[in-house]
């Protein structure tokens, strides 16, 4: 959809007025491209990878930790992802708002400010990885830069292929991917998760055959790990200090065959509901961790 010139003018005028009022705020225009505002982080990451960084981002403070690519310092914070600040969003005067099915409840309100580009990326039982890969092309088309999408998809594929070569010696065992909540609970990344797709892209298999198991208040008890005596345990992300201490002395954890055999690998904090850059980062960290063990 092409924005009507009149409408764009109003928004420009509005923005200029806002800056005049604010006194010294600097507008950022993506060079030659559209001015983007991202509510969804997977979208934001994908847009940044395509070379069209959003001028405004929801939950910018949280995004900056563990970001694969850091947004520029003059990026504007839009507030919570589930309830973005509509005033702040209007002030940004975006040409396009990037959202996802997580935020479908607020889409009508977003549409009143600017056209919304949205995709259902993370849906239970539907593998996210192919959709996130396809998003590179779709968003590039929408931004009028289809060459960038094709180029990045090809680059990502060849990078995963290179990682697959390095991971080949470890392909005999399946991997169990999870985050630790405390010394008794974890969250498992199932075959529908981004990391599971990345795992397959580098030629490894996910030991957990089901969907991603994580509910708001009922994560998986640690004892479920006992069902996977042969797997490699891949702990994604930072372990809370009291969990670290509890695990050291926990009879159950220490008796798990993979723990006894030293098949536990730790990865740094990574973003599970993100775009291809995070998937690639996961691949690099995983292969490095596996090789570190020899």
């Amino acid at each position: 959809m092409v924005t009507l010139p009149g409408k764009a003018l109003t928004r420009r005028a509005l923005l200029a007025a806002a800056c005049a009022v604010a006194g010294g705020a600097r507008p950022i225009f993506a060079a030659g491209g559209m001015r983007l505002a991202a509510v969804d982080w997977a979208m934001a990451e994908t847009a940044m990878a395509l070379g069209h960084p959003p001028a405004a981002l929801a939950e910018l403070i949280g995004f900056r930790d563990a970001a694969v690519m850091q947004p520029s310092p003059d990026t504007i914070d839009l507030g919570l992802r589930g309830a973005p600040n509509l005033e702040a969003l209007s002030l940004v005067a975006p040409d396009l708002i990037l959202s996802s099915s997580y935020y479908s409840a607020i889409q009508p309100r977003l549409e009143r400010i600017a056209p919304v580009f949205t995709r259902a990326l993370y849906v239970a039982d539907e593998p996210a990885f192919p959709k996130v890969m396809a998003l590179l092309g779709e968003l590039a088309d929408r931004l009028g830069d289809p060459a960038a999408g094709a180029r990045l998809q090809a680059a990502a594929r060849s990078e995963f292929a290179m990682l697959a070569g390095r991971a080949a010696p470890f392909a005999r065992r399946d991997c169990l991917l999870f985050e630790l909540g405390d010394s008794r609970h974890l969250r498992v990344f199932g075959t529908d998760s981004l990391f599971s797709g990345a795992l397959e892209a580098i030629g490894l298999r996910n030991a957990w055959a089901g969907r991603t198991r994580f509910a708001f208040a009922a994560p998986i008890p640690l004892e479920r790990l006992a069902d996977y005596p042969e797997a490699r345990l891949i702990v994604v992300g930072h372990i809370p200090p009291q969990a670290e201490r509890g695990l050291g002395s926990a009879a159950l954890w220490n008796s798990l065959p993979p723990v006894r055999a030293g098949r536990v690998h730790r990865l740094p904090e990574l973003r599970p509901f993100a775009g291809i850059p995070s998937a690639l980062r996961f691949g690099h960290e995983l292969v490095a961790a596996l090789e570190g063990r020899g």
């Binding site: 839009l78 507030g79 005033e87 409840a105 405390d182 509910a215 002395s249 008796s255």
Partner: protein
């Protein structure tokens, strides 16, 4: 008979646990003592270091909560006291949540010191207030629930602001009993055994105290140290449970009630029977979940279930209990002054409401700080803000109007939609609509929420009306409904469903999320409510005088009550859709109105209505600006603004 009930409960709990244990590992394969982890299979370790300590921990933690509740009830002579209603558990929760987010290093040595500090601080605050009112049960419970509500609102906001990534917080809030070794049981036993001995020693002096302060002084008993020691013991027990397994509500309230109904007459009997009852309640709850999970069901945190069990249990117990709240102690509440010119006061309130609306419409916070919006931006910003402001003020007026009706209806200064479980019922209605109707629109949600609120209130009334709404019963029944509602909400959120996120988003909802049509509808409803309040002035004037007076004056009592209850339920339901289940505006506004001296029905109701709008306007402004651009939950902010105010009010009235 009573022994049979206890034995039956114990056998059921054991049977439930055994289902889980035997389905995990046949008896023949159970490990023999002594256990050596190096020689055991993984399944044996799961049993010996997972299920077995879990079963024991359920007993120990339940006993600790039961004892804590019994001690609190004995020392305060208040059948409503327990770690949940006195704010103790929420204080511990807030402390742990804050430490997890801001100073995770403090938790390396274990949760207990932090939990103890939080629980102690919350309880001390409640007691400081209670002491000034002679520990009157209803006042102490109001204060405790306010502190608890404020603490858990802040904790919820902190959790939400951190996103759903902090798994440990989420788990902790749920009250999960899963174990990986025996350390939890060791810690709990180390606290529980000495606590039981101390409690046995405290039984005699506490019984002497129950003769009343004069009798106790006559026998040479010093009350202050006794009260302090008993409360400290109860707080320590509650903090221990909080530190080990998180929030497990209602066991401390249910256990002493069960002990009483089982015929525990002396205080010593009650103090010893309550831990037993608590252990059984928690074991039954956990056993049920274990058996459910073993049969392939979902695995839920136990804390979400204790509310499910505790609520209906209390409702069952209530008719078997005497109304135990001594009315004499609440006499101080009635000595309120009357404003000489209520009409002027009302006009002032209306003016304040308008001025505030205009100020918050134009003023605010942007990327560069505070100020009024520039003329060029008005076209875009004013509709957004006006919608939010209208919705917030209307919701406040609706809640406050419902609170005013309920207080008049029950002649109970504590009655409020939040206290009586009406907001809980409304939230349940919202949740059920979300789960049952795919892609439910705002109208379906509004209807569902209102129906939930009205149903909760109707059920409550139908049950409590028989006893002419004795305040203590009504309060307990309301607490039970509220706990049931939050248990069901918790279970839905635990159900790994995308729709659960919609509910979470609603809990964190802000006024800016309302559509213009929704705001207009809320405003219309609020105006209708005001008109009906004024129309029903005569009834509202007569009702607090009691049923006899009402009948003597020819009031069609049953129909009037039903109509007013439906009205309050609908108003609450509509407002709850916007502000979520927690706000306390419905309690605060009528209190404030009475404190201002608005005593007669029309000024009282209209004043409450206006005050509700004012409170919510302030809340909406605060929620919008306090951490710009991050919108905070509206209900949370309303609670934060109103609670200290109400505290000051409660404190001041003693002096008068």
């Amino acid at each position: 008979m009573n022994r049979m009930i206890l034995a039956g409960g114990a056998v059921t709990a054991l049977a439930l646990w055994s289902i889980a244990a035997l389905s995990a590992l046949p008896l023949a394969d159970w490990p023999g003592l002594p256990w050596r982890t190096s020689d055991m299979t993984v399944q044996q370790i799961l049993l010996a270091y997972g299920l077995m300590p879990r079963g024991v921990l359920a007993l120990l933690a339940g006993a600790a909560l039961g004892l804590a509740g019994a001690l609190m009830q004995a020392v305060l002579r208040n059948p409503l006291a327990d770690p949940t209603t006195l704010g103790t558990a929420s204080g511990a929760q807030l402390a742990i949540v804050a430490a997890t987010i801001f100073a995770p290093g403090w938790l390396v040595a274990g949760n207990l010191p932090i939990a103890l500090a939080g629980a102690g601080a919350a309880t001390a605050l409640v007691m400081a207030l209670g002491a000034r009112r002679g520990f009157a049960p209803v006042t102490v419970t109001i204060a405790g629930m306010l502190v608890g509500l404020m603490a858990s609102a802040v904790a919820t906001a902190m959790t939400l602001a951190q996103g759903h990534y902090l798994l440990s917080l989420v788990m902790w809030n749920g009250g999960a009993l899963a174990q990986v070794d025996w350390s939890g049981c060791r810690h709990m036993a180390l606290v529980l055994v000495p606590a039981l001995l101390l409690a046995a020693g405290l039984a005699r002096p506490l019984m002497v105290m129950s003769l009343g302060p004069e009798g106790a002084h006559g026998l040479g008993l010093r009350l202050a140290p006794l009260r302090f020691a008993t409360l400290l013991l109860a707080v320590a027990l509650s903090a221990m449970v909080s530190a080990e397994i998180g929030l497990v509500g209602f066991v401390g309230l249910a256990a002493p009630a069960i002990a009483r109904s089982l015929g525990a007459r002396t205080l010593l009997q009650r103090l010893m029977l309550a831990p037993l009852a608590g252990a059984l309640v928690l074991s039954l709850a956990d056993g049920l979940l274990l058996a459910l999970a073993a049969a392939g069901g979902p695995s839920l945190p136990t804390g979400t279930l204790t509310g499910l069990i505790g609520g209906p249990l209390l409702i069952w117990l209530l008719p078997r209990m005497k109304a135990q709240v001594p009315q004499r102690a609440e006499a101080g509440d009635r000595r309120s002054h009357r404003a000489p010119r209520p009409a002027w006061l009302l006009a002032g309130l209306a003016a304040a409401c308008l001025v505030l609306a205009v100020l918050t419409l134009f003023g605010g916070r942007g990327p560069e700080g505070w100020g009024f919006i520039a003329p060029e931006l008005r076209e875009t910003f004013l509709p957004l803000r006006a919608t939010a402001i209208l919705a917030a003020a209307s919701a406040g007026a609706l809640l406050a109007g419902a609170g005013a009706i309920l207080q008049r209806l029950t002649a109970n200064p504590m009655a409020a939609p939040e206290v009586l479980g009406v907001t809980g019922g409304a939230s349940l209605g919202y949740a059920v609509t979300i789960m049952a109707v795919d892609g439910a629109g705002p109208l379906a949600l509004a209807l569902g929420t209102s129906a939930g609120g009205a149903l909760a209130l109707a059920g409550l009334a139908g049950f409590a009306m028989r006893a002419d709404l004795a305040p203590a019963r009504l309060l307990l029944a309301g607490l039970a409904i509220g706990a049931l509602a939050s248990a069901v909400l918790g279970a839905i959120m635990a159900s790994d469903d995308r729709r659960a996120w919609v509910i979470l988003g609603w809990l964190a909802g802000s006024a800016s999320q309302v559509s213009p049509l929704g705001a207009a509808a809320l405003a219309g409803l609020a105006l209708v409510l005001l008109a009906m309040l004024i129309g029903a002035a005569r009834w509202l004037e007569i009702l607090p005088l009691g049923a006899e007076v009402g009948r003597a004056l020819g009031l069609p009592l049953a129909r009037v009550r039903l109509g007013l209850i439906l009205l309050a339920g609908l108003a609450t339901g509509a407002a709850t859709m916007l502000v979520g289940p927690v706000s306390f505006v419905g309690l605060m506004a009528p209190h404030l109105a009475r404190a201002m001296g608005l005593a007669r029905a029309v000024p009282f109701c209209a004043g409450s209505w206006l005050l509700g709008a004012v409170l919510m306007l302030l809340a909406a402004f605060g929620a919008r600006t306090a951490s710009y651009p991050y919108d905070l939950p509206l209900g949370l902010f309303a609670t934060l603004i109103g609670t200290p105010w109400l505290f000051i009010l409660l404190m001041k009235r003693t002096a008068a």
